[in-house]
Symmetry: C3
Subunit: 243 residues, 3 copies
């Protein structure tokens, strides 16, 4: 939960450390099946705290800020369960990068997304890494060069988010997605997430070579065997979540 | 034509062998200008036959199933003519992978697409290879982690299919696409398809280096020369289809 | 400005040389903040001039044409300021490639896009390089194999263009985008554009490693420092544009 309305939930070093610590601390609890990144107030996150990026803070501090941000994104990717952004407002600059770096993003129809760094003299170069891997280049360039916001509907159309719902149905949608994840085996979701990001980076043919074996190994797990057996026996599966 | 409603057109080894054999058998007949993968019944394909994936069948059989599926996809890609999925219903798991692996997919507005493997203990890892190369990562992750279906319109928006039309216009749309392909030179379509998949895997600059030569070579073929000549002489081209 | 209605603004060697020369000649003038590629008439560009691709012209001339086109695209990418396609009509074949190769494309709702080369015996192999990097493969294949046009709305949905507006609002939209770019530091836009294309070609982790340093270096520039300072002091920035 991003909870500092005063700074528009800016991603200060402290805020990034806090998010990262929460993800790491709980990620191996069997009962925890997905992590929701939500925010208090009308701004999901306005991006880095510009007070940490003044000339007085110096290049070492600047480096520390950007490196922490990359680390946070890496932590999201490596978490064994899905990390979901729940957006109900503005996600700007590194805030937009954070959304684009979650496994999924569910947002309300009033949400907006922008990468306006260049307006403050600092081009959204690192947010662009996440954004251009989520949306077509033409859209990413529009956001990065103009700094103008796009709407929730445009974000969905472009692929920046997974789903858009009316504001008053956001909680319900988040809840549905969590239930869908929770109905499955935690270990199967976990092995699926790991291979998902691994294969994205591979050429198709290598991906299939590896993927075939991942499928075979998946079937050999306790929950893999139970899933198929329950299907054949026409009964609900009983997961161990513990492979 | 997938024609086993009883198993919801499941991609058993037998079914995959049959599809592959049909593609290979006819692909070099000059009269054949594109291949349509269609299905009998309300389910395009529900994916692998889970009865072939039980523990009793064992890892070697499992491996055989997934390897055959990769082979089938490779056969589609290497066919010298376009292979088009005609979808009018549900395409799930490996069925969704099959659609995403065709050169084009034309579908009716009642069609739906899902990758619900994790619900049966087997994460759609190999289907994910095809899906995440077709749609934005945010959409692919939603499908893979929740198992929830997306509609035909969402599939189009995301890039999983080429075109959506009302159910009663699907045959007409397929027919239009086939006519458009048939009006061109078979050899030109074939060289175009080969380079299309080759260049996708290359960096832009290497792609252009190769692409320039492909264009020059294309112009030197009989049908390439005829195409340009017919344009200059303002008359319909007469293709040999035989370069 | 593509200004040869007689040839439907075909990209003859002369036309490509002229566009390239205009981009190169002015790109370092501080006052110039973005370059607009617009066209006279109802056709943005119909693609290569087929009269330069006849058998009589020979393979060396053909090669020269395609190589010049790759060079032009490279020039657009390397220009230190954004190059924007303003499309109000048909962009076909290499004309579609040109649009897809600009940093942004703004188009009117009556615009259409196609890659119909195969109808003239010459598959749009090089246009396909640009198109399939802009839109989902399913859409690119549809355009390339059928040659059928897509509408402006479909082009936006697919990612081929950045924005679609009603025809009578196209100038206004172009003007808004130019103003948004002009309100920022030229040098910041320039370093942002350079890294944008550099990082697209990298794996995510290398991209972030480099990106962190690009952000630190950006903050150390005169306009980077001024941007942050003006934000903290709550006043408009005064750019030098000269880093």
């Amino acid at each position: 939960m991003l909870d500092n309305e005063k700074t528009r939930n800016s991603l200060s070093l402290e805020m990034m450390n806090s998010i990262q610590a929460h993800i790491v601390a709980n990620q191996h609890q069997t009962e925890l099946r997905c992590i929701i990144l939500a925010a208090q107030g009308r701004v999901f996150s306005a991006g880095h705290n510009l007070k940490e990026l003044t000339a007085e803070q110096g290049p070492d501090r600047h480096k520390q800020v950007f490196h922490k941000c990359s680390e946070l994104i890496d932590t999201i990717r490596k978490a064994p369960i899905p990390v979901i952004a729940q957006v109900d407002g503005l996600a700007a600059a590194a805030g937009c990068q954070l959304v684009a770096s979650c496994d999924m993003a569910l947002c309300s129809d009033i949400s907006t997304f922008s990468t306006p760094g260049a307006s403050f003299g600092i081009f959204c170069s690192t947010p662009g890494i996440a954004v251009v891997r989520a949306v077509p280049r033409m859209r990413a360039a529009y956001m990065l060069f103009t700094g103008l916001p796009i709407t929730a509907t445009e974000a969905l159309e472009a692929g920046l988010v997974s789903k858009v719902v009316p504001k008053d149905r956001l909680q319900e949608e988040v809840s549905n997605v969590c239930k869908a994840i929770a109905s499955k085996s935690r270990s199967v979701i976990s092995l699926g997430k790991t291979f998902f990001y691994q294969q994205i980076a591979l050429d198709v043919s290598t991906a299939y070579d590896l993927g075939e074996q991942v499928m075979v190994d998946n079937l050999a797990t306790t929950d893999g065997r139970e899933g198929i057996r329950s299907f054949v026996e026409k009964r609900p599966p009983r997961w161990t979540h513990n492979d």
